[in-house]
Amino acid sequence: MTKTLIKLANIKKIFYTDEVETHALNDITLTINKGDYISISGPSGCGKSTLLSLLGLLDTSSEGVYQLAKHDVSNISKKERARIRNMEIGFIFQSFNLISDLDVEENVELPLTYRKDLSKSQRKAMVKEALEKVNMSHRSKHFPSQLSGGQQQRIAVARAIAGKPSIILADEPTGNLDSKNAEAVMDLLDLLHGEGATICMVTHDPRSAKRAARNIDILDGQIVAEQNQQSSNDTAAA
C-alpha cells in the first residue's frame, strides 16, 4: 500500500542572469511516495540542487505543476510556502547551516518556534527527542563553533526531524565530511528511513546512493535513469 506524497509534472526551471538563460531543469516529472528513500545523482551543474530547492519550496518553478499531499503548491503565497516548509519539510544542507549565535538546543528548536500551535514544553520535548535520536543530547548547550563537522551535521539532522516533517530533503549531507563522519550521518538517515521517514537526498557518493531504494540520475536538467534497488531493474522515468 503506497501513498503518494509528491507529484511533479513537467517541471521546468529557467534562470535568467545577464541575458543568459540557464535551463536548470527541463521537463521533470517525478512521483515520491510516503516512505520513499531517494538518491539523486548527476554531474555538477546538472540541476540536482535546483530540483531539491523546488521540492523544498525554496524556489518556484518556471513551468509545471507541483502537488504536495494532493494540494497544488505551484502558485501559493509566500506565507503559505513558509508554513509548508516549516510543517512538512526538513532540510539538511551540505554546509550544515547552523546559526552560530544559537546553541545546539536553540538551533534544533528554531523551526518549532515558527509554529504557533506548540507550547514551550512541547517544543522542549520535541527537541529532546530529536537530539536523543541523533545521539547529541550531551552537547545541547554547546555552540556550533565548539562542535566538529560531523557533530554539526548530526545537529542539522536533528533540526530537520524535530518537527516531524513529511519529507527530509538533504543536499549532499556528507559533502563536507570525512568518510567516517559521513558513514555516521548516513547510518542516521538509514535509521530514520527505517522508522518510516521519507528521504530525498542529493549525493555524489555512489556508496551513499546505494543506501537509497530509488536512485535517480539527472543530466542537463532531465531525469535520465531511475534504478530501483529492490527490483534491480532499469526503468524509464514515468
Partner: protein, 809 residues
C-alpha cells in the same frame, strides 16, 4: 616593502573612486568641523596672551551668589586678598569708563582703562615712546596724564613723534600724553586710552570703595583651582565680618581670555563635546566603510594568512588605506576650516559694538596645526585599526572552511552592534544638545522686548561729568537736543532715554515704604533696571500702558518724585494689590537727603540686555529724565527719510550745542537689538551646522552598518526561511534587534544629550516642556532612521528566493 603596500593601497582606492570620494568627504567633514570648533574656542577663551609670561597672567573677578560672571571686586576686598593669598605675585588692577576725547576729528568716545600703575609691567610691554605710569601718577590730585594706543596716536596725532608732553582733551579736561603703546597693544581687551586709577586711600567704607578687576601673575606650580579655594576662604571671612555689603559675594580667578567665558561654561563644554562626537562619528563611519571593504576581501585575507602573510603586514596594508583617506580628507577639511576661520573675524566683529578683544585673531595658528595633526593621527589609527582588528583577528580557518555559520561571526556581530550603538548614542546626544541650543537662540531672537523697533535710528551720547556736573545742565542739553531734532522734517518722533527697551541698562537697588529690610545685607534689597526717559517716550516706542498713566510734562524736577514700573515689577513686589500710589526709594551709595518715589503707572515688561534666563525677566523702573538725569543717553528717532541725512543732522545739532560731545553707535534700533542676540545666533547656527553634519553622518553610518550587517546575514536569513520563517517573522526579528540597539545606544544618548540640553536650558531659560518636546522629536528622528536602516536592507534581502539566499556570498 612599505612602498609596495602603499602602492597596493592606492590601487585599491583608485579601483573604487566612489568609495574613496565618499570616505574622504566624511573624514573632511569630521576633521574640518571639529578642528574649527576647537580653534574657535581656543582663540576666544583659552589662548595664552602673546606677551612674555602671558600664560601666568590672571584676572581676579568678583562673583555674586556663586555665579561666576565677569564682574568687579571691591577695592577693600582686593586689599584683603592681596594680604592673605599665596601663589600670586605682582598685584594690579583696573576698571573702565566711557570718556569723550576731543581732537582733530571732533569728539570721539572711547572706553578708557583706569589702571594701577603697574599695568604695563604686568603685561611686560613698554611704551613705544614716552613712559609708563609711575607711583606719582596714582596720587589723587596729581597732574592728569594719559597713555594712548597706537591707533589713537595715528588718528588723533597723525603719528607725530612729538606727541609726548602734548595735551589731549578727555571729558573736557586737558591730559598730558606721557606714553604711546606699541601697535597691537590693546590690553586688557581693546583699549586705546589708559588713565591712572586714583584711589583715595581714605576710602574706608565698603559701600563707597571703587570696584575693579584684579590682575596678578600666577606663581609657577600653583593651579587656578588652588587660588580659587583660597579666594573662597578669604572672601567667606570678609563676608562674615561685613555681611551688610558682602553677603553672597565671593571671587574667582580666570585667565584674561577665560574671564569672558565665565558663566557660559555649559555652552562651551557642550560645543566641545559635540565637536569630539562629530569627529568620532566620522571616524566610526570611515572605519566601518573600510571594514566592510576589508570583509569583501575577507577570503583573500584569509588565504594570505593561510599562505603565511604575517599579521603585521596585513595591518600595515589596512593602515595605509586609512592613512591615505584620512590625510586627503583631513587636508580638504583643513583648507575649508582655514577658510572658515578666515571669515569668522568679519562675522564676529558685527556682534560687538566695540572692537574685538585683541587676542581674537581667528587664523590657523600653531595650536590649530598641532591639534589638526593630533586629530589626523588618531583618526588614522581609529579608522585603520578597526577593520584591521576585525579582519585579521578572525578565525581564518573558519573563513576558509566556508562552513558552519549561516550567520555572522560572533565577534563581527558584536563589533557591528557596538558601532550602531555608538552611532545612536552620539547622534542622540548631539541632536538633543544642538536642538536645545537652536531652540533657545530662536526663543531669544523672537522675544518681545516690549517696544516697536521699526524705522527707528538710534545714537548714543555721553555727557562728561566735568561739563555736565549738575542735573540742570543735563536736562537743558537733553531738552535742547530733542527740540532741535524734532524740528526737522523727515523725523517723526524723537525719544531720549538712558537706555531703550532691548538695550542693556544700569540696575538699581530699591526699598519700599513701610517694609522692613533685614539690615544684614545690601544684597537683600530688590533690584531693577533703572531707566530715565523723557515724558511720552515710552508711548511713542509702543511700550503699552497697563495701569495708571504715562509720565508727562507735569513730572518735572520741581514736583514730587514719580516713576513708572514694568508689569513684572508690579507683579513681583505687589502681587496682591495695585502698585499705583506705592512709594519706594533708592538704596543709595551716598547717604543724604532721601526722596520717596511714587509709582504713577504700570507699563508692559521690557527686556533690558540679554534675552536669556533670569536677565530677561529683571523688572524695570522708568523715571522722568528731569528727575533722574543721566550722563549716558540714547536718542531714538522715528524716520520717514533715509538714515545718512539724519546722521548728518544729528552731528550738526550736537556740534551746535556742544562741540565736545560725541555721538556713537549710530545704527537702526533693529540692528542694535540684533547685535545683542547675534552671538547666540552665531553659536546656534554653528551648532545647527554640526547637528546637520551629525545627522547625515549618523544616519548614513547607521544605514551603512545595518545594511552591512544584514547583508552579511543573508545566508542566515535563507536558513531561517528554509526552516519555515515567513517574511513577517524575519522582519520582526531584525526590527526587534534594532530596537534593542536603539535602547542600548539611545538611553545613554538621551541622558547625555538631556544633561547637556538641561544645563543649557537652565542657562538660557528655555522651558522644560520645550526640552521634553525636543527630546521626544529627536528620539523619533533617530528611531525612525534606525528602523528605516533596518527595514530597507531586510526587505531587500527578502527579495532573494530562499534558495538564492542560502548560496549568497
Amino acid at each position: 616593502m612599505i612602498w609596495q603596500d602603499f602602492k597596493y593601497a592606492l590601487r585599491l582606492l583608485a579601483k573604487k573612486p566612489g568609495f574613496t570620494v565618499l570616505t574622504t568627504l566624511v573624514m573632511a567633514t569630521g576633521i574640518g568641523l571639529s578642528v574649527y570648533m576647537f580653534s574657535f574656542f581656543n582663540t576666544i577663551l583659552f589662548k595664552d596672551l602673546a606677551f612674555k609670561d602671558g600664560e601666568s597672567l590672571v584676572v581676579i573677578n568678583g562673583s555674586l551668589n556663586g555665579q561666576r560672571e565677569e564682574s568687579e571686586i571691591n577695592w577693600l576686598d582686593y586689599q584683603e586678598i592681596q594680604k592673605n593669598i599665596e601663589g600670586l605675585t605682582e598685584f594690579g588692577g583696573y576698571t573702565s569708563a566711557n570718556v569723550t576725547v576731543s581732537g582733530r576729528d571732533g569728539a570721539i568716545r572711547y572706553v578708557a582703562i583706569l589702571a594701577q600703575a603697574n599695568i604695563f609691567n604686568l603685561t611686560r610691554t613698554r611704551p613705544l615712546f614716552g613712559r609708563a605710569f609711575n607711583a606719582a601718577d596714582e596720587q589723587v590730585g596729581a597732574e592728569e596724564v594719559v597713555v594712548i594706543g597706537y591707533q589713537l596716536w595715528q588718528n588723533q596725532f597723525a603719528g607725530d613723534k612729538q606727541v609726548i608732553e602734548k595735551s589731549m582733551r578727555i571729558d573736557g579736561k586737558n591730559h598730558r600724553v606721557i606714553g604711546v603703546m606699541p601697535q597691537g597693544y590693546l590690553f586688557p581687551r581693546n583699549a586705546q586710552v589708559w588713565l591712572p586709577l586714583r584711589i583715595d586711600p581714605s576710602q574706608l567704607i565698603r559701600e563707597q570703595a571703587t570696584g575693579l578687576r584684579g590682575l596678578a601673575h600666577l606663581e609657577k606650580g600653583v593651579s587656578m583651582a588652588d587660588i580659587d579655594k583660597q579666594l573662597q576662604v578669604i572672601m567667606q571671612r570678609i563676608e562674615q565680618q561685613y555681611p551688610q555689603t558682602n553677603s553672597g559675594i565671593s571671587a574667582f580667578i580666570s585667565s584674561v581670555p577665560g574671564a569672558g567665558g565665565a558663566g557660559g561654561e555649559p555652552v562651551v563644554y557642550t560645543m566641545h563635546v559635540v565637536a569630539i562626537l562629530i569627529l568620532l562619528l566620522a571616524s566610526i563611519n570611515v572605519g566601518n566603510l573600510l571594514l566592510s571593504r576589508a570583509l569583501e576581501r575577507g577570503k583573500e585575507t584569509a588565504i594570505r594568512v593561510a599562505l603565511g602573510a604575517p599579521r603585521s603586514r596585513l595591518i600595515t596594508q589596512l593602515l595605509w588605506e586609512s592613512t591615505i583617506i584620512c590625510t586627503i580628507g583631513g587636508l580638504v577639511g583643513f583648507l575649508v576650516m582655514a577658510w572658515g576661520l578666515e571669515i569668522t573675524e568679519p562675522i564676529v566683529t558685527t556682534f560687538f559694538a566695540e572692537p574685538l578683544a585683541f587676542w581674537w585673531d581667528f587664523s590657523v595658528d600653531s595650536y590649530t596645526i598641532k591639534l589638526f595633526l593630533g586629530i589626523l593621527v588618531s583618526t588614522i589609527l581609529v579608522t585603520g585599526l578597526l577593520p584591521a582588528w576585525r579582519t585579521t583577528g578572525g578565525d581564518f580557518n573558519a573563513v576558509l572552511r566556508d562552513g558552519t555559520r549561516g550567520a555572522l561571526g560572533k565577534k563581527a556581530g558584536r563589533l557591528n552592534r557596538l558601532l550602531v550603538i555608538s552611532e545612536i548614542f552620539i547622534s542622540m546626544a548631539v541632536l538633543i544638545a544642538a536642538a536645545v541650543m537652536v531652540q533657545s537662540a530662536n526663543e531669544q531672537t523672537n522675544k518681545d522686548i516690549g517696544a516697536e523697533t521699526a524705522n527707528i535710528l538710534v545714537a548714543n551720547v555721553l555727557l562728561p561729568e566735568t561739563n555736565y556736573d549738575s542735573a540742570a545742565k543735563k536736562i537743558r542739553f537733553v531738552k535742547q537736543l530733542q527740540t532741535q531734532m524734532q524740528s526737522h522734517t523727515g523725523i517723526n518722533e524723537v525719544m531720549i532715554m538712558s537706555s531703550l527697551p532691548g538695550h542693556y541698562s544700569a540696575e538699581q537697588k530699591v526699598m519700599f515704604e513701610g517694609k522692613e529690610y533685614t539690615k544684614s545685607s545690601n544684597n537683600s534689597y530688590p533690584s531693577a533696571n533703572y531707566i530715565a526717559t523723557m515724558p511720552g517716550d515710552l508711548a511713542k516706542l509702543g511700550v503699552e500702558l497697563r495701569q495708571g498713566r504715562y509720565l508727562n510734562s507735569s513730572d518735572n524736577s520741581d514736583n514730587k518724585q514719580t516713576a513708572l514700573v514694568s508689569e513684572s515689577f508690579a507683579e513681583r513686589h505687589f502681587p496682591s494689590q495695585s502698585a499705583i500710589g506705592k512709594r519706594f526709594r533708592l538704596v543709595a551709595k551716598e547717604t543724604g537727603e532721601i526722596d520717596w518715589i511714587t509709582i504713577v503707572g504700570i507699563v508692559e515688561h521690557t527686556i533690558q540686555g540679554n534675552r536669556d534666563g533670569s536677565a530677561a525677566s529683571v523688572p524695570s523702573i522708568f523715571r522722568p529724565y528731569s528727575q533722574a538725569p543721566r550722563s549716558r543717553i540714547t536718542i531714538a528717532m522715528r524716520l520717514t527719510t533715509d538714515n545718512s541725512h539724519v546722521i548728518k543732522l544729528l552731528r550738526k545739532a550736537l556740534q551746535g550745542i556742544d562741540s565736545e560731545l560725541a555721538s556713537y553707535r549710530i545704527e537702526t534700533y533693529q540692528a542694535s537689538n540684533d547685535r545683542i542676540t547675534a552671538p547666540v545666533v552665531f553659536i546656534s547656527s554653528l551648532t545647527a551646522l554640526f547637528a546637520i553634519a551629525g545627522v547625515i553622518l549618523a544616519a548614513s553610518g547607521i544605514y551603512g552598518v545595518m545594511s552591512n550587517t544584514i547583508n552579511q546575514r543573508t545566508q542566515e536569513i535563507g536558513v531561517k526561511r528554509a526552516l519555515g520563517a515567513d517574511e513577517g517573522v524575519i522582519i520582526a526579528e531584525f526590527l526587534w534587534s534594532a530596537v534593542k540597539l536603539l535602547l542600548w545606544g539611545g538611553i545613554p544618548g538621551v541622558l547625555a544629550g538631556g544633561f547637556m540640553g538641561f544645563a543649557m536650558a537652565q542657562m538660557f531659560g528655555t522651558g522644560m516642556s520645550a526640552l521634553v518636546t525636543i527630546i521626544v522629536i529627536m528620539i523619533s528622528i533617530v528611531a525612525i532612521s534606525v528602523i528605516i536602516s533596518t527595514y530597507l536592507p531586510t526587505k531587500n534581502a527578502l527579495k532573494l528566493e530562499p534558495s538564492q539566499a542560502l548560496h549568497y556570498e
